[in-house]
């Protein structure tokens, strides 16, 4: 029995690996289509909306999956994701913004006399591997990866500290407490100077740049390979985040399928029963919380790379709700569902429905209602329909491969039924 299972596992792992590689390959191909073919359709030019949406979808997929780990697989209803994303993005931005921008007066930290973090990771690696050519690429990639990991760790540490008291709460109380923490984190990052009671001042702006934006750190476009004249010879700005995100999601999937993952699901289904089965509730909850925060922060950092600039202002509860709606649309408890949900949500809200914002004429007939903001009205109605009528979301708790297996399983069960009837 065990051996058959192992064989099956090996087979499905190989299939999964092939699928992932194929996905990367396709992305790489369509991204570079414009270099291979001279007259590609406009959709495939590198600045097209398609890639903008794809990149955002890739980043949001990771964030949605990390939220799903917590809300869908562990059953902890947390609304603190915006806070973790913010921590990740700020840590990343602070660690990788070049030193030349951190100087007083001319830099982006001009208000505070320069930043107190007086180095940047990729430049530190640059001093070892060199700053141009292959060495430059190595130091960039290393710098980004290390910064991503540190961002995740910082958020995980915060999550641990927050989780200690908060995770004792249940369902909506937990949701509202985590929401509160996210707001507090945002306020601290926006605040520039805190007057201490003793008369001193704590200038947070030196670290966080206060209300000002941080910019100039490596972005997704930094991964594109250019030749000496500045022309891009290979576009990697969509593939690289895809690789990072898939790696993270694979780790999450492995975790979900491990003993820990089974414990998480047991906690979700029935806390008391799980505890009775000998699962340490506190330990598993905080583990899930920290891991989720870690990946949310990595997602937040990637998001900063996508957005090219970084500011705390948009990281309100609205953003958390957005991600929650993605998770719900995709199916609470389905990893592939979250990815599909992210795609549909972002493509709809930022691409396909955009025509609703502009007045349209069909012949001489002016289509009524179309003006700025109508897109969001239609979009929120669609969301309500999904929430009300497709309660399980697109995938429910199924994964994408399950859909292909389904028929076989059905046939098999039917077979047994008829066998029994005989």
């Amino acid at each position: 029995m065990n051996r058959i299972d192992n064989k099956k596992n090996v087979k499905s792992t190989v299939i999964a690996l092939v699928c992932i590689l194929a996905f990367w390959g396709i992305l790489l191909l369509i991204e570079n289509l414009n270099l291979i073919l001279p007259n590609v359709p406009k959709l495939f030019t590198p600045t097209s909306k398609l890639f903008m949406v794809l990149r955002k979808v890739i980043v949001y997929s990771l964030i949605a999956v990390s939220m799903n780990l917590l809300n869908g697989f562990t059953g902890l209803f947390s609304l603190g994701h915006a806070g973790f994303m913010l921590l990740g993005a700020y840590t990343f931005a602070i660690l990788t913004t070049p030193v030349s921008l951190k100087v007083p007066v001319d830099g982006i930290f001009y208000k505070y006399g320069g930043s107190i973090v007086n180095f940047s990771l990729q430049e530190a690696f640059g001093s070892i591997f060199g700053n141009s050519g292959a060495g430059g690429a190595v130091s960039l990639v290393l710098g980004v990866l290390v910064a991503l990991i540190i961002s995740g760790l910082v958020a995980a540490l915060f999550a641990y500290l927050i989780g200690l008291p908060v995770l004792r709460l249940k369902s909506d109380y937990l949701a509202i407490a985590t929401l509160g923490f996210a707001e507090i984190i945002r306020t601290i990052f926006q605040c520039e100077v805190i007057k201490l009671p003793g008369g001193g001042e704590l200038v947070l702006g030196k670290l966080t740049n206060g209300a000002n934006m941080i910019k100039g750190f490596p972005t997704l476009n930094s991964f594109n390979i250019t030749n000496a004249t500045g022309q891009t010879t290979l576009y990697l700005s969509t593939v690289v985040p895809a690789i990072i995100v898939t790696a993270c999601i694979v780790v999450i999937v492995l975790l979900i399928n491990s003993t820990y993952g089974r414990s998480f699901k047991a906690i979700r289904d029935d806390e008391i029963a799980a505890e009775a089965m000998g699962i340490n509730l506190a330990k598993h909850k905080i583990l899930s919380f920290c891991i989720s925060a870690f990946f949310a922060a990595v997602g937040g950092a990637l998001y900063a790379m996508f957005a090219t600039t970084y500011q705390a202002k948009p990281f309100t509860s609205v953003l958390t709700y957005e991600i929650l709606l993605i998770v719900v649309t995709g199916g609470i408890g389905s990893v592939t569902g979250s990815c599909i949900g992210a795609f549909l949500y972002i493509a709809c809200s930022e691409w396909w429905l955009r025509f609703l914002d502009e007045p349209m004429m069909i012949g001489a007939f002016q289509v009524p209602l179309l003006k700025d903001g109508f897109r969001m009205v239609v979009f929120s109605i669609v969301i309500m329909i999904v929430v009300l009528f497709f309660r399980k979301g697109i995938m429910g708790t199924k994964e994408l491969p399950d859909l292909f297996k389904k028929r076989k399983v059905k046939a098999k069960t039917e077979g047994t039924v008829t066998d029994n009837a005989k």
């Binding site: 959709l43 909306k49 001319d106 000002n212 500011q311 202002k313 953003l319 025509f355």
Partner: protein
């Protein structure tokens, strides 16, 4: 029933995808129905916090477009089409809104109202090789460190110091109360520059930040009074400014309120009307600066219901509208100088464009900022509910 609904929904989505994609993929060709078209992209907040300002700025561009809808290059007449995209006033929606414009094959981008969204979209325009021209984004970081972002307005350091000097000269102010939104780069930037000039001249400041979505300002205003401040400086976005002005009037605070270019808006005017508020704002243009423009735009607003709604329901001219109007003509000049609608050519031609607009002479320095040394300071005629010019301040 459920299946039917699912089907309908799926169809609707598919339809939306189809309709949504069509203009994006087909807009590549310049000749449409035998007509030559040049597109100018306008990147503005049409929903969200700054919608009021964004709409007025767009209005200026649209009016200019209605006035001069064509441009002649090498003897061929091109129709100029204004396409716009809504960035929702938030930096997280800005990149994809910018990509919408890039997809529509625009030759140059104008906007945005609000510096944060401009910075967030900057890289998208840069990747596409587009030149972008800020109309009223005043934060220094918009143009700093890049070669594709330009602007036709003055900068925050200038505006902040102008207002600080004005507070000193007009009111002999010794202590100023600075009130801004927490985490808003525009507010905080101006407060800093104001503080620098004001304290350098021997003044003293009391600073306070309010969290986003605050509606109750009574406590802040009372503190300003209790601390013995002589003026209140509050360069906030329109929704907050209206609250602050009306609450100050109601509480009878009696201190003069100084504001920046965002407060030059008819919603703020409406809040101050019929009260004894002393409100002073620095801005780019004052009604009466160009009689022909004033008359034209008023006529345009009054004959076009959509324009009137966009302008907040009356025909008071906002400075941002005048700036939008000028920006359109600067863009046309750049296209003329480039001799084509090609975005790279326009980008190359833009730095050398000089234009004499309704808001003054426009030329760019090496960073891409407008060479401007004039700010108009307006005050409210509370009885009539109109703006009147207080003084014109020049850089020292």
């Amino acid at each position: 029933m459920k299946k039917l609904l699912a089907l309908a929904l799926a169809l609707a989505m598919l339809g939306a995808a189809f309709v949504g994609c069509t203009p994006a993929t087909n807009s590549g060709d310049v000749a449409e129905g035998g007509e030559n078209v040049i597109r100018i992209g306008v990147f503005e907040p049409l929903t969200g916090d700054s919608a009021s300002g964004g709409k007025k700025e767009l209005l200026g561009v649209q009016y200019a477009n209605a006035e001069t809808p064509t441009v002649t290059l090498d003897g061929v007449e091109y129709k100029v089409e204004v396409v716009y995209s809504d960035n929702g006033s938030t930096t997280d929606k800005a990149p994809s809104a910018a990509a919408t414009l890039v997809d529509k094959d625009v030759s140059i981008v104008l906007g945005s109202y609000g510096s944060g969204v401009s910075m967030a979209a900057s890289d998208t325009f840069n990747q596409a090789g587009l030149a972008a021209m800020g109309i009223t984004c005043t934060n220094p970081n918009v143009t700093k460190g890049n070669e594709h972002y330009f602007r036709i307005c003055f900068l925050d350091p200038f505006q902040g110091s102008v207002l600080a000097n004005f507070a000193k000269e007009k009111f002999g102010a010794k202590k100023a109360y600075l009130l801004g939104e927490l985490g808003n780069e525009y507010d905080q930037g101006l407060l800093t520059f104001f503080e620098q000039t004001f304290t350098a001249a021997g003044g003293e400041v009391v600073k306070a930040d309010f969290p986003t979505n605050t509606a109750d300002f009574t406590q802040y205003l009372n503190t300003a009074k209790a601390e013995g401040c002589d003026v209140i400086f509050t360069p906030v976005s329109i929704a907050y400014a209206t609250q602050i002005v009306s609450q100050a009037a109601r509480l009878g605070i009696g201190l003069p309120i100084l504001g920046s270019d965002t407060l030059d808006d008819n919603k703020v005017l409406e809040a101050a009307k019929g009260t004894d508020t002393q409100l002073f704002v620095s801005t780019f243009y004052q009604e009466g600066g160009s009689a022909a423009f004033d008359e034209g735009i008023k006529n345009y607003i009054n004959t076009n219901a959509d324009a009137k709604t966009a302008n907040g329901g009356d025909d008071t001219i906002s400075a941002v509208t005048a700036m939008g109007y000028d920006a359109y003509y600067v863009a046309l000049e750049a296209i003329k100088a480039a001799g084509s609608a090609d975005k790279a050519a326009v980008k190359a031609a833009l730095p050398n464009v000089k234009y004499s607009g309704v808001s003054g002479e426009i030329a760019f320095d090496e960073i891409g900022d407008a060479i401007r040394d004039t700010a108009y300071i307006k005050t409210v005629d509370t009885a009539a509910g109109t703006w009147k010019l207080e003084t014109v301040q020049k850089a020292n």
